[in-house]
Every structure is written in C-alpha cells, then in structure tokens.
Amino acid sequence: MMKRVHSIAIIESSQIIREGISKLILDSTSSFYPVNKYENIENFISASQVADIIIINPNLYVSNNQLFKDVLSIAPGSKIISLISCCLPDSLNDKWDESISIYSTQKEIIEKLRGLVEKPVGTLKQVEIVSDQYDLSERELEVLISVAKGLTNKEIATNHNISVHTVMSHRKNIIKKTGIKSISGLTVYALINGFIDK
C-alpha cells in the first residue's frame, strides 16, 4: 500500500504562529512533510518550492490582491488554507479551500489537512500503470504473442534477434498499455483479440 506524503508551505508573518503550526503538524502525523515556513508572500515566491497545501494568513495580501493571485499562479495545483487571525472582509471568503484560525486545536488542523488531501477510503487511489499510448506496436504485438504462447524472455530474444533487455522493455510497455500484468491474463487478452488460437 502506498503512503503519499504531502508538502506544506506556511506563509505567516508571526514567527511564533509559523513555528507553532509547523510543530503541531509534524508532531501528530508523518503524512505531511516537509513543512516550509515563509515570513511573507515574496519569500514564498522567490523560494519557488512546490507545496501541496499552502497555509496563508490573508492579512498578508488583504491590501494587495495581486499578491494572492501571484501565489495561485506559481502554485496552481495547491490547496489553500487561510489562517484567520482577525475579522476579514466577506469578499475574501470564497478564495480558500479551507480555513483554520489561530485558536484551532491540533485535531481540527489535522482533520482539515487530511480532508484536503484524502478522499474517503477507497474512492481515489494511486494508479501505477499509466500510458498515454494505446495501440501495441508491431514489435510489442510479436512479443505479446510469444509471451502468451509461454515462451521465456530468452527464447523470445533468440527468435526475434533482439536482446533480453529489449524483450523486457517491450513487456513493460505491453503491461503499461493494456493494464494486464500476469502472463495468463495476457494470454486471455491475446486469445480474445484473436492474436493467437487456443
């Protein structure tokens, strides 16, 4: 089972608050790492470190909205958590994925972080096999047919005058393109598509 770690950037002018939130997160779980801290938006931008989640105090951009847009543009995929320390104009409210306050408890903060990165169990999982290409190449098809017939890598290499290494790389591509990993699964695939006879 894969364990995915998510990075965090905290942008907050108070050192006590920055360090405090970072410690609360790091103490309670190993799911969030690293936690980078920035005193202001400019520092965050010039560091150009990607973060899955950005915790930012809206006071840092309330008077200059362009700064917030800059954050979004350098980190388009990041989730934004606002760190509320005082009353804010309503117009700011809809820009965040989540918000916490300086009075939030450790549990609340972790729950909110998790809520942003974890879908309910089982609905979203890491997909290991991906290929943008669809059809098997002519060579891959030949290798597939040989695999389905039960030939070893060495036999396939000899028959086609290629190296064992090349055979293995074709096999990896076949798995990526079809999503089928086992030899018997590939045999079924070849039979159903009429590449081989029973």
Partner: protein
C-alpha cells in the same frame, strides 16, 4: 470535535459514519448489533472483544498513516487477531468468491458470447480461484497454527514469521487483470448492466484483499516477531 485517529472512548456509531467499511469488521469480530450510542470501549467489553485490537483494525483500515506503537503491538490478543483473519478468509472463500463466480459464469453462459471467449475467461478465473484458495490454505494450515504454537511457547526450528513475510504473495494483481479484461477487452455487443455489477464487486474485493494483506503484514507480522523474540 474530530479525532485525529479513532480512539476507544469515541462512539462506535461515529466511527461507522466516518467509514462504513467498519460494518464488515463488526461482522467478523462477532459484535452484536443494537449497540446504540455506546463507546467503542463499552461495545468491545460487552462483546468480549479487545478494544485495542478493534481500534487498531479500525484505524489501519481507515487511515493509511496510522502506525501501531510497539507497546500496543506486544499486548495484542493473538488468538482474537488470528480468529479475525481466519473469519476474513472464510468470508472471502464462502461468500465473496462464490458470489462473483456465480454471476460471472451465469453472464458468460449467455448466447451473447462466443463459447471460446467465455471458456478462456472462465479458465482464467478458475486458475485465479485455485491460487487464492491455496494462498488462504497456506495461512490457515501453516502460518496460523505456527503462531498458535509459539504462543504456547513451542519451538519451531527452521520456521519463523520472516519466511511468511518474504513469501507473502500479492493476491490482488491477477484480480486486477480479471477486471481489466472484463471491463476493457471483453467483446460486448450491447450494454451489459450485470457486467458493471461484477466489476464493482471485483473492485470491492480487491480493496478487501488489500486491507487484509495490510493487517497481516503490518499487525500480525510485527506482533509475531515480538512473540518470537520473547520466546528466545
């Protein structure tokens, strides 16, 4: 207030609301329904289930970053854990697999499919099924009795849980092939609702297998390693 992980003093009903997969755990631990608003701790006590074991299973099934600490690992009730894993095997063998097998074979016996396609696919399923059965049988007849043995202080020269750890095969990979072939490559001439039901069941079973293997590798193995060290 929300908890970071499930704790014993939370309501059982709260945990279930958060993760409905817990319902299956209740069944396998033999917990009586009708627990009202009782805490996990109280429900466990009145059902003779170890609250530590129960919360460990709940958390490991729900949170991927949950780690059991070494003290809890050492005091786990071994027999209850083994029973839980055995009952999970029974559920897979007597309920999940036959259900999928039945619906699959019924679907493929329809004249909509060519006999050669159906028989090739059924052959693949049967092969997978026998691999699964021997995987579970190995654990039921070798690994679990071994654990029971060392619990009683017996010595088994030449065998340790390390062997199990090294050879614990992945049973999900062929299951994934089954559903990929069925969903993407099997020739259907018209929409086939039953097919989607079967594929959904295969996905659920795959997740159950993953959770089950995770408990065996992350809970049973370290616990047994502790017992082994204690014996030597």
């Amino acid at each position: 207030m929300m908890a970071i992980f499930f704790t014993k003093d939370q309501k059982l009903s709260f945990a279930i609301e958060k993760n409905f997969k817990i319902v299956r755990i209740l069944k396998q631990l033999g917990i009586r329904p009708g627990f009202g608003e009782k805490s996990i701790n109280d429900v466990c006590h009145s059902n003779n289930v170890s609250p530590d074991l129960f919360t460990a299973i709940l958390n490991m099934t729900t949170y991927t970053d949950y780690e059991v600490d070494s003290e809890s690992l050492s005091i786990l009730p071994t027999t209850q854990l083994l029973n839980y894993l055995k009952l999970s095997h029974k559920e897979f063998i007597n309920k999940d697999l036959p259900y999928i097998e039945h619906s699959l074979k019924e679907m493929l016996s329809s004249p909509d499919f060519s006999y050669s396609h159906s028989s090739v696919f059924i052959g693949f399923f049967d092969e997978y099924k026998s691999e699964l059965l021997s995987h579970f049988d190995y654990e039921d007849s070798i690994v679990f009795p071994y654990v029971n043995g060392i619990l009683e202080g017996e010595k088994f020269p030449g065998y340790s849980i390390e062997k199990f750890k090294e050879n614990h095969t992945n049973i999900e990979s062929k299951l994934s092939d089954l559903k990929n072939i069925l969903l993407k490559y099997f020739p259907f001439s018209k929409p086939y609702p039953i097919l989607y039901d079967i594929v959904e069941n295969l996905y659920q079973l795959e997740q159950e297998f993953e959770n089950h293997a995770y408990l065996e590798e992350r809970l049973l193995v370290p616990h047994v390693e502790f017992l082994e060290r204690r014996n030597n």
